[in-house]
């Protein structure tokens, strides 16, 4: 338990440090790599909370797909050193926004979990039940794996939201495809099916020239 507590604090610390370095790094590529490290640390935190399914999804989706796309775009942009501006001028606005966000999160936590999580953390009784009461509750009731628990929540109680989020993603996908979809008429393209269907007799024929 002490080890878990220690690891939790360690990963949180690294996560904060890396997220600071994301905005402080001069080179945008370094920023993205630090962002990947942030994702890694949050994945470790999720593992400590015993939500291993979400942790793995986090790795696959955020690190394996989204951050790679970030890297791709930034590498292709070929940003030179002069383009890097001083990011400290935005500090007051950033501070203001993050304060608002912080209080919002605290309000949500206090409202949803009834102060359970925050105060237990302060009083030092930090086991997994206190970090994540839902997991503990399920463990007491029935032995179900992470995925089964999630599925029973998503597909039974919140399936409307699930369907709606699916539709939103579909709309986004259609939007992205229509943005990139344009046909150039003057480009010669090889149609593989046509190419395979070509026969000697139909491709070449004799013409007599008078």
């Amino acid at each position: 338990m002490i080890l878990e507590f220690f690891l939790f604090n360690l990963f949180s610390f690294f996560m904060l440090a890396c997220s600071l370095l994301v905005i402080l790094a001069q080179n945008p590529i370094h920023s993205v790599l630090f962002l990947v490290l942030v994702f890694f640390n949050s994945c470790a935190l999720l593992l400590l909370l015993k939500v291993e399914f979400l942790a793995m999804l986090f790795l696959i989706v955020y690190v394996g797909a989204i951050a790679v796309l970030f890297l791709f775009v930034i590498m292709m942009l070929n940003i030179t050193e002069e383009a890097v501006y001083n990011s400290f001028s935005y500090l007051p606005i950033g501070f203001f926004l993050s304060t608002i966000f912080f209080f919002e999160v605290i309000l949500v936590i206090l409202k949803e979990l009834d102060g359970f999580l925050l105060f237990s953390f302060i009083s030092g009784v930090a086991n997994n039940c206190y970090f994540n009461p839902i997991v503990c509750f399920c463990e007491k009731l029935i032995f179900a794996s992470n995925i089964e628990t999630l599925a029973s929540v998503i597909y039974v109680y919140y399936f409307y939201y699930f369907l709606i989020s699916g539709l939103i993603l579909l709309v986004a996908m259609v939007g992205a495809i229509t943005l990139t979809l344009y046909h150039k008429i003057d480009v010669k393209k090889q149609d593989i099916y046509k190419q395979h269907q070509k026969m000697f007799k139909t491709s070449i024929d004799w013409k007599t020239i008078h």
Partner: protein, 329 residues
């Protein structure tokens, strides 16, 4: 003191996987050269050691004693880190592979997701290597490689979902044990073929070895690497190949489950596992010897326009069958 013994046992367990893995990587290179040699009707390496059995170690030694070169305009920290990341990622996915009954280092219940996650992280080693060497060949090679790996991961994930639907668990041992009656190779044969081809693309093997197409890109993302940096990439690549074959074995060929009837099914499970993995590896090499390289647009067409819809259709089809016949596990 108990901590000490725990750490010691973890270290020994990891070593007992890593060491055989590295040796098998060494002999995989030898196997490749020998098999390719036979298919080209030449002898292959036969000078060093008995029938060339010491050739891989000679190669390794050569790479070890060569000079490590850091390009002057490279981003040196990332340049050094990239091969290390690549090699590390190819090793850590072996943690969850069940070699036999109860013969697995970490029997976690999201095993298959872990493997997918680690293989999707493999892009980082390549893309950072290509970018940090500050050379156009390396950069283009790494971009190609990353795009290819991402594209084929999608359809691979969907194929894995089909298998998961059939067995109802993400645990690799459970997946193997659910194939006791019939290997998934038989009911899901098209998926096996697709998984194998995606595996070829995922490990950047011929006919999808565009990232290191010698004729166009010198040697892709590893152009600027010499000595141990190159060796680490090489080891990582071949370890990934073995990993992909063992995933094929676990998902479709029944892992450590015995093959055949009475006298043959007494063979211990580990040997069966190894035999099946070797068969798939032979296929990998056979494909390399037999097929010419794909063009890049053909590769992308195959990934996005053929494999992706087809694997989506299979997911729906299998889910439909399971619901219709009430086969929910």
């Amino acid at each position: 003191m108990t901590y000490f013994y725990t750490i010691l046992s973890i270290l020994l367990k990891s070593l007992s996987i890593i060491l055989p893995l590295l040796i098998s990587v060494a002999y995989l290179t030898l196997l490749e050269r020998k098999v390719m040699g036979s298919m080209h009707q030449r002898r292959g390496p036969n000078v060093v050691g008995f029938f060339g059995t010491l050739q891989p170690f000679a190669d390794g030694l050569k790479l070890l004693v060569k000079e490590t070169i850091l390009p002057s305009s490279a981003n040196s920290v990332i340049f050094i880190l990239a091969p290390i990341i690549s090699f590390l990622l190819s090793l850590i996915s072996w943690v969850v592979v069940p070699f036999g009954k109860n013969l697995v280092l970490a029997d976690i219940n999201v095993g298959i997701l872990y493997v997918l996650a680690v293989s999707s992280l493999g892009v980082y080693g390549i893309i950072t290597a290509g970018w940090s060497s500050n050379s156009k060949y390396a950069f283009l090679g790494s971009l190609r490689s990353a795009a290819q790996m991402i594209s084929y991961e999608v359809s691979m994930g969907l194929i894995v979902i089909c298998v998961i639907l059939c067995c109802g668990s993400l645990n690799l041992s459970a997946i193997v044990l659910s194939q006791k009656k019939v290997w998934y190779l038989i009911p899901l044969f098209p998926l096996f073929v697709m998984f194998f081809i995606s595996g070829l693309a995922e490990t950047n093997r011929a006919p999808f070895d565009l990232p290191e197409a010698e004729a166009e890109l010198v040697s892709g993302f590893s152009t600027e690497y010499a000595a141990m940096g190159f060796a680490l990439f090489f080891l990582g690549e071949y370890a990934n190949m073995i990993m992909m074959s063992s995933m094929c074995t676990i998902l479709f060929l029944g892992g450590w489950l015995p093959l055949g009837l009475y006298p043959i099914n007494q063979i211990p499970g580990v040997v069966c596992f190894g035999f099946k993995v070797t068969c798939i590896l032979f296929l990998f090499i056979w494909v390399r010897a037999a097929y010419p390289r794909y063009r890049y647009d053909q590769l992308m067409t195959l990934g996005w326009k053929i494999f992706l819809p087809f694997s989506f259709a299979w997911v729906l089809f299998i889910a439909g069958i399971i619901v219709q016949f009430d086969l929910v596990v």
